[in-house]
Symmetry: C2
């Protein structure tokens, strides 16, 4: 029996054994793109031969993490502007920087940087929402990371779409180009209910529906957004989207910080998923999403880092630990959002909202082989009594040693195999020099 | 001119140049235990010779971080019990585990594990509060980390102090033993106003005063503690301590989550410092300390990890980023606790509350050489526009490459020079086996 990769001697985290014991090391066999078999080392079939063997002694073998919201190319703006009032940050810093520096080339290289960072910290699938999305897709494909990559649609001149009248056609062109790819799933991203007209949102969703794609939209991120929606439309952003008819199981509502009980009921009935970004919501002081209520209602929830301008890193382990702790302190209840619950959000929850349930998110025979190996022989992971606790409260992205995506080894023993990180860093640093030397808003004549 | 260590080609973060540019690399010269000189490479005196040269090209050279609250030995209980109601966690898990497993030997080895973790993540000074404190001091001294180590005092039978009547004498013995050490500063830790009588607290503070030591106490950590204090003493915990006469510049009030304006005024007048532990307060759902108000009032604030049972790691970078973001979202104000402000809390703020201002916390000629070197050539730290932003919002402890404490190189290029981490991990894992096999509270006959 030939297979492609066999991982041996690791603690194998499966749905049936979420807290594997060091006394019972196991194996995972990968054939082509899929998980072919898992089990205990003591029961490893003798007739197995593999092109590649990875010894995972002292390591945890687990599903890769799923980042359900990112604007990958914004790595260029990491730390460009912090600690500012939201509108100053957005209008005086981020929007001008985007207008000036976002190009096809910038998106390609800065998305590659995001891919380097994500693979090195244990993410195997990312949902991206930005512009020049075909360049995003190209960069992520080359890096070997799985992605749901959504082309941005907005009612203003945008990078790559100078005339907003072209935004839907542009998205349609992009979807057609990438549909059918084994790693990249194209999608549509209408920026928000306050930057897209109702008509644009409906057209965007229509395109997504007719192409069998997912639809992403920022919703109810800030209190002022909700107030504005009430004033303009007489209803909350969630109710407004519901009235537009765009909420269904293929829609991902990003943020969902300010929801009332009625909004939660609407989301629940619609089947829409929520991508929650705790760190970004904290840093921008947007608020705390009612994740406990969403979970209780049975609404599918995934976690996301958001872009680097508002986080400022792409480590999903940071997102997991923050989600677990933020909701506890917010409601003064230490039993909320247990380690097991947030771990699921970062794996099966993410898979579900991205329409990839059944394909990724768990180490189960027949699912795609998106697997990471975490080195548990670290001082800060010693001792480990419970694997979920270790992952959520002690570990960080830098503990991820090896990564396999779609059956392909993309990082081995901390060494990237699909990208030359030095080249990527050099390219982005070159662009950052231009950003650094651009006049700051205070100095600019305007 | 001979010196001991020269660090070359780094970005040198000094009070006068908090955001050093890669275009102006500099040097730091160390003689004996102190910083002898700093400057730009272009101006490096030609006549300098050093026993050891460290090339910090592409790295940030900065003051080591100061962890102002830890129970180091509790690494053994990392992740033993999470996501539980506070009293269940404490009374059914942590207290029984401490009663059963805390010994002189356990404290020594588990503190060594904490030292490994802390040095590897950039901490150069720690304030510890536990029992068997002489073993804590011995372990930290051998590891080469600077510490203010406070012997625990509590009105219950405690590890190493079976008869509470001996608690002050025991602390006095410990202080005498360690006073005058160049790395370890002994201190007194009365556990809290609800576990120590007023008399015990006053005796503890008296001992600290007469020995010229610092005094630590947990204060106002939970809402129920404040309610209990109001019921029992008619005043808040801070007011109660003030009435006992134990608040002064040599007192560190740990947590201070539930403070009213009157408490803040009392703290401010007293000169007492606050050690704030955001991650622990989040995980245990204790609440959010009013750090912005403390800063505004001019009260000295340091940051701490708390022990591993409630965090569950000792990475001060995690503490910094959490403090910055938690207070923003708590007050819905993104301008609160800027990167620069929390960086100071983790360095000069910590030094101040521990009585080490003027000695550590800044790269200044004449101060003790407690220095860390952060590798900035990492994907998640690229690009860097502002060093404080990078440290607070993007970096983690695993980016710390080299550490010097008291002029001694303790970690070089990620390799520990003072401790054998494998030996420490093996010892702690051995003890953890016993913890793992102990009957859980549900199974125990009681």
């Amino acid at each position: 029996m030939n297979c492609d990769i066999i991982i041996t001697n690791g603690l194998i985290k499966t749905p049936g054994n979420p807290n594997p014991s060091p006394d019972d090391p196991g194996y995972v066999i990968i054939r082509d793109t899929k998980i072919f078999a898992t089990g205990l080392m003591a029961e490893l079939p003798a007739e197995i031969t593999a092109a590649k063997t990875i010894d995972a002694s002292g390591c945890l073998v687990m599903p890769g993490l799923i980042n359900t919201h990112n604007h990958c190319a914004m790595t260029l703006f990491r730390g460009l502007a912090d600690d500012l009032p939201l509108m100053t940050w957005l209008q005086d810093h981020i929007f001008p920087a985007e207008a000036k520096f976002v190009s096809s080339k910038m998106v390609y290289w800065c998305t590659k940087l995001a891919a380097v960072e994500m693979i090195m910290s244990g993410t195997t699938t990312v949902a991206d929402s930005y512009f020049f999305e075909s360049d995003v897709a190209k960069a992520l494909k080359e890096a070997g990371i799985r992605a749901v990559a959504a082309q941005g649609v907005i009612d203003f001149p945008a990078p790559g779409v100078p005339d907003p009248a072209d935004n839907i056609d542009n998205a349609a062109w992009y979807i057609e180009k990438w549909q059918g790819d084994d790693l990249i799933t194209p999608a549509v991203f209408c920026h928000s209910p306050y930057t897209c007209s109702g008509e644009t949102i409906q057209k965007g969703k229509e395109l997504a529906r007719s192409s069998g794609c997912h639809f992403f939209i920022h919703v109810a991120e800030t209190k002022s957004e909700v107030e504005q929606s009430l004033k303009q439309h007489g209803v909350s952003p969630v109710q407004y989207l519901n009235q537009l008819g765009v909420l269904d199981e293929e829609t991902v509502c990003v943020h969902c910080v300010w929801l009332d009980d009625n909004d939660i009921e609407i989301l629940n009935k619609s089947g829409a998923g929520v991508a929650s970004c705790s760190k970004s919501n904290m840093k921008l002081a947007s608020g705390v999403a009612p994740l406990d209520k969403l979970v209780e209602a049975g609404i599918p929830v995934g976690l996301g880092t958001d872009g680097c301008a508002s986080n400022n890193n792409l480590d999903m382990f940071g997102e997991i630990t923050t989600a677990a702790k933020l909701h506890k302190v917010n409601r003064l209840d230490p039993t909320l959002l247990t380690a097991g619950t947030v771990f699921k959000m970062a794996t099966t929850g993410g898979a579900k909202i991205l329409g990839l349930q059944g394909k990724i998110g768990e180490l189960v025979v027949g699912k795609l082989a998106d697997i990471i190996i975490v080195d548990m022989q670290k001082p800060h992971l010693t001792p480990t009594y419970d694997v979920n606790s270790m992952l959520v409260y002690s570990a960080s992205g830098s503990d991820v040693k090896t990564s396999i995506i779609n059956g392909r080894l993309v990082m081995e023993n901390y060494h990237l195999l699909t990208i030359d990180p030095d080249e990527v860093l050099a390219k982005v640093n070159e662009m950052a020099k231009l950003v650094r030397s651009a006049p700051s808003p205070e100095q600019s004549p305007g």
